[in-house]
Amino acid sequence: MTEARDTAAAVARRSYGKLVAFLAARTRDVAAAEDALSEAFASALADWPLKGCPSNPEAWLLTVARRKLIDVARRDLRGEAATAQVQLLAEGLGAAAADAAIPDRRLALMFACAHPAIEVGIRAPLMLQAVLGLDAKRIASAFLMSPAAMGKRLGRAKHKIRHAGIPFGIPEREELPGRLDTVLDAIYAAFTAGWTDPGGTDVVRRDLTEEALFLARLVAELLPQAPEALGLLALMLHAEARRRARRNGDGEYVPLAEQDPALWDWLMIDEAEGALRRAGALGSLGRYQLEAALQSAHVHRRRTGDANWAAVVRLYDALAALTGSPVVAINRALAIAELHGAGAALEALQAVAADARLAEYQPYWAARAELLARTGAHAEARRAYQVAIGLERDPAVRRFLQRRQSALPA
């Protein structure tokens, strides 16, 4: 019994997206493919313990799911419509069930989930559900949404894929970079949703960063010539590698400069560096590669003691030119502080101070406070810390900022 359950679970994890992608590719009906597949998994759990696991579990599941899909089409459709739909389902599917290797269309499924015609905020949840089989409840909690609302939005997105005719395919060469960006952004959104709990106390969110890493690895593997896919993978691996070091034994927040490198996952860092090198060799720079390169520079500095701030500022310059993001400007200012002092950094920060988006952005106020403190403007620093503390949601980070604030000379 447990063996059948384990096999079903393993197949589910490994092949879920492959099976959904294959079943939905023709009809574009992701919801129907998911329903048929979940029934097939239920049949497997009932059947395998009695008759033993099939030699090719994936093909077994596909055959059963396919039968369910055809049953549904026969039941719900009449006349010509039924014939057409059943024919559509039978085409290709029949051939595939006979063949041991099921073609991997997960990338096409991801391009459909992150299509520009799909609302930006639902792309990551949709991908997590369709490619990895996560249920709406789990996804909802990571994205701080009610399960009912998440379910409704996922349903609407699947309806859109089907009825708007969103293709299951890999875009043409000239469109690929732009379309790939939407896929990578969705994967990164899933990762950061998981990352909002860096202490790893919330199992649901912790798992989500692993699921997002799985997706990033998958895209990098299926599109080995796409530098930004490798860049994103490198960035995520770097972040994940330092997760444990970001909290001390008491659960308190530890900034990068004070982390213990012995707590970093060096295998993961090596993997990140390898991905970044491969990306660099492809000769086309992008946002994720630059961000990964910054992570790499931080690791290098801590490992060797080499104060590579000039290189870090140059990377931030490139990133700022590419994205125009005020968040990048904040980090750039902090690097400038190391290179030219806090005064120069505050001047650099002034350039983005007018950006209305920063008024409610905690890292801006924390950076400002830190720099003011270093120039001796303690009263101003205290006020900036106050704003930062008020904006922070994570209690550990809030305590960290409070400690900094109270360390200011009176």
Binding site: L77, A81, G165, I166, P167, G169
Partner: protein, 136 residues
């Protein structure tokens, strides 16, 4: 799949354009439709008189209410539409992006009702009532 490409345009600008400029735009529209016809995707195309010629009608308590003007009082108005038959949304979007309207207005891409799915839901080819319609 069949899609309707709806051209939403700011009507106020057109009369203010110099004649030569108007002719340039008309030339661009003609070339666009020719290209769609040549590619074998264009099924039909329809231009509309400006919304100043529009009248809206509804029946409330058995009384026909007729009002001067278009349904939505927005800056951009429906100026015309094309029906095209293409493999998928990406192909429809790439035709929409070539439309001169995309440069000065907005093109809405809408699939035509899928009759197969519709028949599955209603059994007949009846048209769908609008959302929230009261049939009591």
């Amino acid at each position: 799949m069949k899609y309707m490409l709806m051209d939403y345009v700011g009507e106020a600008g057109w009369p203010r354009l110099p004649r030569a400029e108007q002719e340039r735009w008309l030339g661009a529209y003609n070339a666009y439709m020719e290209a769609m016809a040549k590619a074998g995707v264009l099924q039909s195309t329809t231009g509309l008189e400006p919304s100043s010629a529009a009248t809206t009608v509804r029946v409330v308590n058995d009384k026909t209410q007729v009002l001067d003007g278009p349904y939505a009082d927005s800056k951009e108005q429906l100026g015309g539409f094309h029906i095209i038959d293409v493999p998928d949304l990406d192909a429809a979007i790439s035709w929409a992006a070539r439309s001169p309207t995309a440069l000065h207005g907005v093109v809405e891409v809408r699939p035509l009702l899928d009759r197969t799915a519709h028949e599955r839901e209603f059994g007949t080819a009846a048209l769908q009532p609008p959302d929230g319609a009261d049939h009591a």
